[in-house]
């Protein structure tokens, strides 16, 4: 599949790790409404996400994302393990990683923060609420928050 959605003049690189194509499209649509310059890259499982981040194989020239949106329930390698590996990697752990999932289970929330997720968000059921959430992500993480300067991963 096409792993990244190229947008001309993008100033922000966002990696969305999501296996549900419907959610991928909804997220793209929602960002389209609120963000001017943003490149949304998609990895559809955990293994691919790590390959993208480490620029392995076909991802050799993948950019370092400014923000990672990570679903928990993923094929091959689930989101918790992806999170653990990102935060255990000195080159990757400074990238803000936001959990975006349908689960609102207390155990998932607690486990995610224990693994040093930067934020935990539940996907709202209603379209408008989901669009509002994506807007909030853009407003906070990509606009207000000061992020570390892009570094070449070691």
């Amino acid at each position: 599949m096409n792993l990244s959605s190229k947008q001309s003049g993008a100033s922000h690189e966002v990696l969305l790790v999501e296996d549900n194509l419907g959610d991928v499209r909804l997220t793209q649509e929602a960002f389209r409404n609120v963000a001017g310059a943003l490149r949304l890259h998609v990895a559809s499982d955990g293994v691919e996400a790590l390959a993208f981040l480490k620029q392995e194989g076909v991802h050799a020239d993948a950019p370092r994302p400014d923000l990672i949106l990570l679903d928990l329930n993923l094929p091959k390698m689930d989101g918790r393990e992806v999170l653990a590996r990102i935060k255990a990697d000195d080159g990757l752990k400074s990238i803000p990683t936001v959990i975006l999932t349908t689960s609102d289970a207390d155990t998932d929330i607690a486990e995610s923060y224990r693994l040093q997720a930067n934020c935990y968000l539940s996907k709202p059921v209603q379209l408008e609420a989901f669009e509002g959430l994506v807007k909030s992500i853009n407003d906070f993480w990509l606009t207000k928050a000061k992020l570390p300067q892009n570094q070449v991963p070691s």
Binding site: G22, D23, L26, E29, K123, V125, Q126, L127
Partner: protein, 651 residues
């Protein structure tokens, strides 16, 4: 010693001598022509005893060899001498007439009597004798023949016997019980002061009397030999046993006694000493006990349960017919046996004191409690029982009565119930889990359907034809209704799987939280929601918020065109409880639907009138019930509705 001495009196001996010797006797005719002295001497010589013939002057005229030997003199040394030389006192005086009586009288008074005197040997030593006198007419007047017997041995025996008798009498008197000594003829020969007092006779009235006078039946018969046994056997059968008989007082009154017999060797044969104890008090107590026992046994047999009475040693002392049947033993096979034979574990241990507790404590710990144990039938099969213990005072200490009930059926039912309960719990858990998972997993694809139909609607409304707009609108509506349905189902299942931690919750805070969640609806309808001061209650906070939210939400929703008014109040009811009421001025509910509105998916209105899943009140009912209460409704169409429920006051 001959058979006539001993306890028999000496007077009797004398009378016996009288019968033999008779009175003054003339010299037989056939001897008349012979030399008197010579003929008589021959007779004298043949006599076994010492014989001395004395004249009325007290001089010895004749004596035999035995006399020579006994007194230690040659015959010549004594003939013509005063008899006082060998019998210093008591003999000569009796022969010689004094001023008050003739010689005949003096002699008559003494003839035949066995007189005990002291004799003197030639060496000066003394020895006791008994003399028997008989007159002998002679030409020189009446001579007296004295048969002299050395009674040293007899005297010594008599003295010994007297001492023994004295000692025995002392023992008799010292005994606490009445003592009566009876010979083999059934005659009383001796008794003590206690016996006099007990029977009301003086000693003289009883000595020599038949013992049947005071113990009419059962004593004498035992002593006297009959055709089938000897006296010794008769006695041997009874010696030492405590025999219970009836005794008779002089006044004719009877009283129960216990006698203990012991044999006493005596010169007159075996005597029997009977120790007699008045057992009136004991008998009365025993009778009372027997009656009580009889009553108790009656109760035991009448009891519907098996009853087993056990002593402190853990031995069975009594049981009823039910117990025989239940355990499969005959009564005889269990009495005296250890109770562990029929209840191997858990019963005996409870009764028997160990180092840590007294028998009373051991017992007290168990009295009255229903203890479940295993019992063992004779055929080795086991069955579950429940025993109830109760103490029973007895002369032999505290006994324990165990009422034993076969609880096989109950146990089987319990096991069955537990199994069913576990099944039900599992099934409930599965159902709850299923509802939870299903509703959660259904949400995912539904979110896609809803989101994309909404996206379609937003982006293409008015750009396609009118049909497309309508179709899309139905799809959007269906999806969003399905979403609410799933959310409500999830909420309903969560009431069962979460919460239950009931803490102190301010119901006023809970209501306010609910009102915050309802803000949109309240503003939309311009609703007026009021409440009294509300108490703290024991509840799950989240569920209480949900409860208020559903009830107040309903109150605002099911309204006519006017301003919705909702009032929440709480009043004390009963013991530490509060009755809450959520009252509105809405459409009201026809009472015929009261039963239905709390059920799942129950709706009273068309979808076009009011949206809703029909789960809200079912959730309310479940929440209230999980708090140990009930929810009820009062309403009439057009009159508004009041929902009421009770919650426990917080401590």
């Amino acid at each position: 010693m001959d058979s006539h001495s001993g306890i028999r009196s000496r007077q009797e001996l004398g009378s016996l001598a009288n019968r033999t010797n008779g009175a003054v006797r003339p010299i037989p005719d056939e001897l008349a022509g012979l030399d008197l002295v010579e003929r008589y001497r021959e007779l004298l010589m043949a006599a076994p005893d010492s014989m001395v013939v004395v004249d009325q002057g007290g001089e010895i005229v004749l004596l035999n060899d035995q006399a020579e030997k006994q007194f230690g003199y040659p015959r010549d040394a004594l003939i013509g001498q005063k008899v006082t030389n060998i019998i210093p006192e008591g003999f000569a005086e009796r022969l010689i007439a004094d001023g008050l009586r003739s010689r005949q009288d003096a002699l008559a008074q003494q003839i035949g009597a066995g007189i005990e005197l002291v004799a003197l040997r030639s060496d000066g030593s003394e020895f006791p004798i008994e003399i028997m006198l008989s007159p002998l007419e002679s030409p020189d007047g009446i001579l007296v023949t004295a048969a002299i017997r050395d009674i040293s041995v007899r005297k010594a025996a008599e003295d010994e016997l007297a001492r023994t008798e004295e000692r025995y009498r002392g023992l008799l008197e010292a005994a606490p019980d009445s003592m009566v000594v009876v010979d083999q003829g059934g005659e009383i020969v001796l008794l003590n002061a206690q016996a006099e007092k007990q029977f009301g006779y003086s000693r003289d009235e009883l000595i020599g009397q038949k013992v049947t006078n005071i113990i009419p039946v059962g004593f004498a018969e035992r002593l006297i030999a009959d055709g089938t046994r000897t006296a010794a056997e008769a006695l041997a059968q009874q010696i030492g046993t405590g025999i219970e008989l009836l005794a008779l007082r002089k006044d004719g009154s009877e009283f129960p006694i216990e006698i203990m017999l012991s044999p006493l060797d005596s010169p007159d044969g075996i005597l029997v000493t009977a120790a007699i104890r008045d057992i009136s008090v004991r008998k009365a107590a025993e009778d009372e006990l027997a009656r009580t026992e009889q009553r108790y046994r009656g109760l035991l047999e009448a009891a519907p349960d098996s009853m087993v009475v056990v002593n402190q040693a853990g031995e069975i002392v009594l049981l009823n017919a039910q117990a025989e049947k239940q355990f499969g033993y005959r009564r005889d096979a269990l009495i005296g046996q250890k109770v562990t034979n029929i209840i191997p574990v858990g019963f005996a241990e409870r009764i028997i004191a160990d180092g840590l507790r007294s028998p009373q404590d051991a017992l007290a710990q168990q009295i009255g409690t229903g203890i479940e144990l295993l019992a063992l039938r004779r055929d080795g099969s086991e069955f579950p029982i429940e025993i109830m213990l109760s103490p029973l005072d007895s002369p032999d200490g505290i006994l324990v009565t165990a009422a034993i009930r076969d609880i096989s059926v109950r146990k089987a039912a319990e096991v069955h119930l537990l199994e069913k309960n576990a099944e039900l719990k599992l099934s409930n858990e599965e159902l709850s889990q299923f509802a939870n998972i299903a509703s959660h997993d259904l949400q995912e694809p539904l979110r896609m359907v809803a989101s994309y139909t909404q996206l379609l609607s937003r982006r293409y409304k008015g750009k396609l034809d009118a049909d497309a707009d309508e179709f899309i609108a139905f799809a959007v509506d269906g999806a969003s209704r399905m979403q609410r349905l799933i959310q409500d189902l999830l909420a309903f299942s969560r009431v069962g799987t979460t919460g239950g931690e009931h803490g102190e919750v301010s119901s006023e805070h809970a209501l306010n939280d609910a009102l915050v969640n309802l803000r949109g609806a309240i503003e939309e309808r311009d609703a007026l929601v009021t409440h009294d001061p509300l108490p703290s209650v024991r509840a799950d906070a989240m569920q209480l918020v949900q409860l208020f939210q559903n009830l107040v939400g309903n109150a605002i929703k099911y309204q006519g065109p006017g301003v919705p008014r909702v009032h929440v109040s709480a009043v004390r009811c009963g013991n530490r409880k509060w009755m809450f009421a959520v009252k509105d001025n809405g459409l009201g509910i026809d009472p015929q639907y009261f039963d239905r509105i709390f059920g799942m998916f129950q709706r009273l209105h068309k979808r076009e009138e009011f949206s809703g899943t029909g789960i809200g009140l079912a959730i309310c009912k479940k929440i209230v019930e999980r708090h140990g209460g009930t929810i009820s409704v009062e309403s009439a169409p057009g009159e508004g509705t009041t929902f009421s429920f009770a919650l426990k006051e917080s401590r």
